[in-house]
C-alpha cells in the first residue's frame, strides 16, 4: 500500500527556495550539488594522491630529472637503459620467485590453516585465531629484528636446531641461494594468518548440509574437499589470489627491513625486489625518471598478470 501526498504539499516540499540575498540555499540548487559535495573528498584525494602522481610518473618516465632544475627530455632512453640493466632483471626474477612462492605455497598453507581453524574438534578456536592473526598487528621492524636473530649464521636458533639434528647450518642472510627462502619464511609467518582469515570466512559460509549430503552419498574427506570446499570457495580463492599476487609483486618492507639499509637487496642482490629497486633508484639515487620507468613497467606487469589471472580463474569457475 502506498500513501500519496496531496499535490499542494508535494509541491511545497519540492519547490525551489529562491535566496533573496544570494546566499547558498538549501533548496533544489543546493540539493543538486550536495551529493557531489559529500563524495568530493574521496575524489579530491584520489586525484591528488593517485591519479595526478600516476600520470606525472608516466610522463616522468620519458625524462631525466633529479628533482632540481628543468627535466631533460630523454625519449625512451630510460627504458633502453632498463632493458640492459642486469640488476633490474635480477629484481624481476626475484619478484617472480616471491610471487610464485606466495601463490603456490603460502596460499595453500593458508587454506589448510583455515580448515584446521574451522575444524569442529578444535579446542580454544578463538585463541588460535587470535594467535594466527597476531603477526599482522606486530611491527614489521620488530619482526625483522627477531627474524634476523633467528636466521643468524653463527648464533641463530634455526641453525642451532639444524646442527642439533646433524644438518649443516645455512647462512640464511649471507648465502645468495638461501636469502629468498629467508624472506619467504618471514612472509609466511606474517601473512599466512591473514589469508587464513579470508579463507575461514569463506569456509564458514559453506552450508553443513552440503557436507552431510556428500557424506551420506559416500564421499570421503578428499572428495568433499575437492567437490564441495574448493568449488564453494571459488570467489574467495579468486579474491585471495589476486591480492596475494599484487602484494607479492609489490613486496618491499619485508626484505627491506630483513636485510637492512646496508644491503637492502641482500648479498649480491639475491633478495632484491622490483619495488626495492625502484625505491633505491628513485629515493636513494634521485633518479626520478628512471624510477618512474621501473614503476610503469611494474604497473603494466601487474595489470597484465591480473587480467590473465581473472581469465584463468573465470575459466576455472566455469
Amino acid at each position: 500500500m502506498s500513501v500519496s501526498q496531496p499535490a499542494s504539499q508535494a509541491e511545497s516540499v519540492q519547490a525551489p527556495v529562491q535566496p533573496s540575498d544570494g546566499r547558498l540555499s538549501t533548496g533544489a540548487g543546493g540539493a543538486r550539488f550536495a551529493p557531489y559535495m559529500f563524495i568530493s573528498p574521496f575524489f579530491i584525494i584520489f586525484f591528488l594522491f593517485f591519479l595526478f602522481p600516476t600520470a606525472f610518473a608516466l610522463v616522468l618516465g620519458f625524462f631525466n630529472w633529479r628533482g632540481l632544475g628543468q627535466p631533460e627530455f630523454f625519449e625512451l632512453r630510460n627504458y633502453e637503459r632498463l632493458m640492459r640493466d642486469p640488476i633490474f632483471f635480477q629484481a624481476v626474477q626475484n619478484t617472480v620467485f616471491y610471487t610464485g612462492f606466495s601463490l603456490f605455497i603460502i596460499m595453500p598453507l593458508a587454506l589448510l590453516e583455515a580448515m584446521a581453524l574451522n575444524a569442529k574438534i578444535l579446542w580454544f578456536k578463538t585463541l588460535w585465531r587470535i594467535l594466527y592473526f597476531a603477526p599482522i598487528v606486530t611491527s614489521t621492524v620488530a619482526v625483522a629484528i627477531v627474524f634476523r636473530m633467528l636466521y643468524n649464521r653463527e648464533f641463530g636458533l634455526i641453525n642451532e636446531f639444524l646442527m642439533s639434528i646433524g644438518l649443516t647450518p645455512v647462512d640464511w642472510l649471507g648465502d645468495p641461494n638461501a636469502v629468498k627462502f629467508a624472506v619467504m619464511g618471514l612472509v609466511v609467518w606474517r601473512w599466512t594468518g591473514l589469508l587464513a582469515v579470508y579463507f575461514l570466512a569463506g569456509l564458514q559460509s559453506i552450508p553443513d548440509t552440503l557436507y552431510e549430503a556428500a557424506s551420506i552419498d559416500g564421499a570421503n574427506g578428499i572428495q568433499r574437499f575437492f567437490y564441495i570446499t574448493i568449488p564453494s570457495l571459488r570467489p574467495v580463492i579468486l579474491f585471495v589470489s589476486v591480492i596475494v599476487m599484487i602484494g607479492a609483486l609489490q613486496i618491499f618492507d619485508d626484505p627491506q627491513v630483513l636485510f637492512g639499509s646496508g644491503s637492502p637487496g641482500g648479498p649480491a642482490n639475491a633478495g632484491l625486489s622490483i619495488v626495492q629497486y625502484l625505491y633505491s633508484r628513485g629515493i636513494g639515487d634521485l633518479l626520478y625518471g628512471y624510477a618512474s620507468a621501473v614503476g610503469l613497467l611494474l604497473f603494466i606487469g601487474i595489470f597484465v598478470l591480473s587480467l590473465v589471472q581473472f581469465r584463468l580463474l573465470r575459466g576455472f569457475e566455469d
Binding site: I87, P176, G260, P267, A268, D285
Partner: protein, 430 residues
C-alpha cells in the same frame, strides 16, 4: 629650579633615545644547523656562550635540528622548493649526490678562499672528500683514522704478537687462530669497507679531476691484490664475515667478541664510541688499540672510513654562518675542545700533537694512552677523491663482495665487474 628640572628631563630623554637606538641596533640572526648526529649539536651548544660573547651586537636564535640522513632530506627539500639550513652536516657518503647537477656549487658557499693558507694545517684527505671541481665545500669533523682494536689477553694466551702487516695477519690466521675457530678481523659487504683497504694499499677509485681510474693499469692490479687477500682471509677464517646491518647492530659481533671468536677488528676512531664500547661495556679493560696492519707492497700507514663535513649555505646569513663554523671547527684550540667533548679526533696537525689529545688515556683500553696511537697515524691518512659516480662503484663492490667471500667469484672477475658497472653508469650518465 625649573631650569634644573628641564635639564634633567632632557638628559633623561636623550638617554632614553640612546638606549632605544642601542636596542634597535642589535641585529637579530637565526642560525640553522641540521645534522644526523646529536654530538655536533652538543659541541656547538657547549661553546655558544663563548661565541655570543664575540658578537655582543647580535642577538642569536638557534635552530639546531637532528634529522636522520639529513643530506638526502635536504635534497628532497630543494626539489620541493624548500630552503636549505645555514649549516648542513653532510656525511661524506652523501656528498656525491650534491656533486650531481652542481648542487653543491649552486646552493653552498665555496670555502676554498675562506680557508686559505690554513688548508695545509689539516690532513689533506679530509678536504678532498668534500671537494668539487677543485674547490672545498665543507669542513670535516673527524680524522676517522683506522686503528686495530684487539684483545691482548688472547694474543698473549697464544704467545703471538699483534700483526703489523696484513700478510702477518693472514699467516697468523692460517697457522694459529684459524684452526681454533678464532678470527682476527671482520669482512663485510660494504663498498666503503673495501675502499678502506684499497685506499690503504695506495689505490684510487677516482683521481683529482674525477676521472674513473679504478680500472687503469695502476689501480686494477692493486684492487685484484686486495680482493685476492680478502678471499684468502675469509677462506682460512682470518676474516669473520658479517653482512649488512649486522655489522652495525645486532648480536653477531658483540657475541663473537665475548666468546673469543673475534679478537680484533680494524675500524676507524668512531667505532670505539658508536659500536665497541656500548656493545661490550663489560669488556672494559680487555681491549687495546694498535696501528692497523699495513700492506707489505706499500701504501699508507692507516686508512679512513666515514666522516661528516659541515657546509655553509648561500644566503643572507652566509657570512655569519661561516664565522660560526670557522669558530667551531678551525684552529687547534677548537679542535682540541671538540675532541675533549665529543671525541672526534682532530684533523689539524697542531691539535693532534696537543698533550690534551696525544696523551689521552682511556680506561676502556686498560689505561692505554690511545691519543698517542691516533696522533702517530694523523699524517698517514690517505688522500682520495669523490665523484658523482662513487655510489655506482661502491654499490657494485658491495653487491659482489659476498660472491668474493664465498669463492663463487674470482678476484679478477670481482674487480672487472665493478669496473664494467661503474663505466657503464658513467657512459650513460647514471
Amino acid at each position: 629650579m625649573k631650569k634644573g628640572l628641564l635639564l634633567l628631563v632632557l638628559v633623561f630623554a636623550v638617554s632614553l633615545m640612546g638606549l632605544t637606538t642601542f636596542v634597535s641596533a642589535q641585529e637579530e640572526v637565526t642560525l640553522s644547523a641540521w645534522t644526523h648526529d646529536q654530538l655536533y649539536i652538543d659541541y656547538f651548544n657547549s661553546r655558544i656562550d663563548e661565541w655570543e660573547a664575540m658578537h655582543p651586537d647580535i642577538t642569536f636564535t638557534y635552530d639546531f635540528q637532528i634529522i636522520p640522513e639529513v643530506w638526502d632530506r635536504v635534497l628532497e627539500g630543494l626539489a620541493a622548493g624548500e630552503e636549505v639550513p645555514d649549516l648542513l652536516g653532510l656525511e661524506q657518503g652523501g656528498f656525491p649526490n650534491y656533486m650531481k647537477d652542481g648542487v653543491i656549487a649552486n646552493y653552498f658557499v665555496d670555502l676554498t678562499d675562506l680557508i686559505g693558507d690554513r688548508y695545509d694545517d689539516y690532513a689533506e684527505g679530509r678536504w678532498t672528500i668534500y671537494s668539487y671541481e677543485g674547490r672545498v665545500y665543507a669542513i670535516e669533523s673527524s680524522l676517522t683514522a683506522s686503528v686495530y682494536y684487539y684483545q691482548p689477553a688472547v694474543f698473549e694466551e697464544y704467545g703471538v704478537e699483534v700483526p703489523e702487516s696484513w700478510e702477518e695477519m693472514l699467516e697468523l690466521g692460517e697457522t694459529v687462530f684459524g684452526p681454533e675457530g678464532v678470527s682476527l678481523n671482520v669482512a663485510t659487504n660494504s663498498g666503503n669497507w673495501f675502499q678502506m683497504l684499497f685506499n690503504q694499499r695506495g689505490g684510487d677509485v677516482f683521481d683529482e679531476s674525477g676521472t674513473f681510474v679504478f680500472g687503469d693499469e695502476t689501480n686494477r692490479p692493486l684492487a685484484i691484490e686486495v680482493a685476492d687477500y680478502i678471499q684468502r682471509a675469509v677462506a682460512n677464517g682470518t676474516f669473520f664475515v658479517v653482512l649488512g646491518d649486522d655489522h652495525w647492530s645486532g648480536v653477531t659481533i658483540p657475541t663473537a667478541y665475548r666468546e673469543g671468536r673475534l679478537i680484533g677488528h680494524m675500524m676507524p676512531d668512531w667505532w670505539s664510541s658508536c659500536c665497541l664500547k656500548p656493545n661490550v661495556e663489560e669488556m672494559a679493560g680487555e681491549w687495546r688499540i694498535a696501528p692497523p696492519p699495513t700492506w707489505e707492497g706499500g701504501g699508507y700507514s692507516t686508512t679512513v672510513w666515514g666522516g661528516t663535513g659541515w657546509a655553509v649555505a648561500k644566503g643572507e646569513d652566509q657570512e655569519i654562518a661561516w664565522e660560526f663554523l670557522e669558530f667551531m671547527y678551525l684552529g687547534a684550540e677548537s679542535q682540541v675542545q671538540r675532541f675533549e667533548l665529543i671525541n672526534m679526533f682532530p684533523t689539524n696537525f697542531e691539535a693532534m700533537e696537543d698533550p690534551r689529545v696525544s696523551e689521552l688515556i682511556d680506561a676502556f683500553y686498560g689505561g692505554q694512552e690511545i691519543g698517542s696511537v691516533y696522533a702517530s697515524l694523523g699524517r698517514g691518512v690517505p688522500v682520495w677523491y669523490q665523484s658523482p659516480f662513487r655510489s655506482n662503484w661502491s654499490t657494485a663492490i658491495g653487491d659482489n663482495l659476498p660472491l668474493l667471500f664465498d669463492g663463487s667469484m674470482t678476484p679478477e672477475a670481482f674487480v672487472d665487474q665493478a669496473i664494467s658497472i661503474t663505466q657503464d653508469a658513467i657512459d650513460f650518465g647514471f
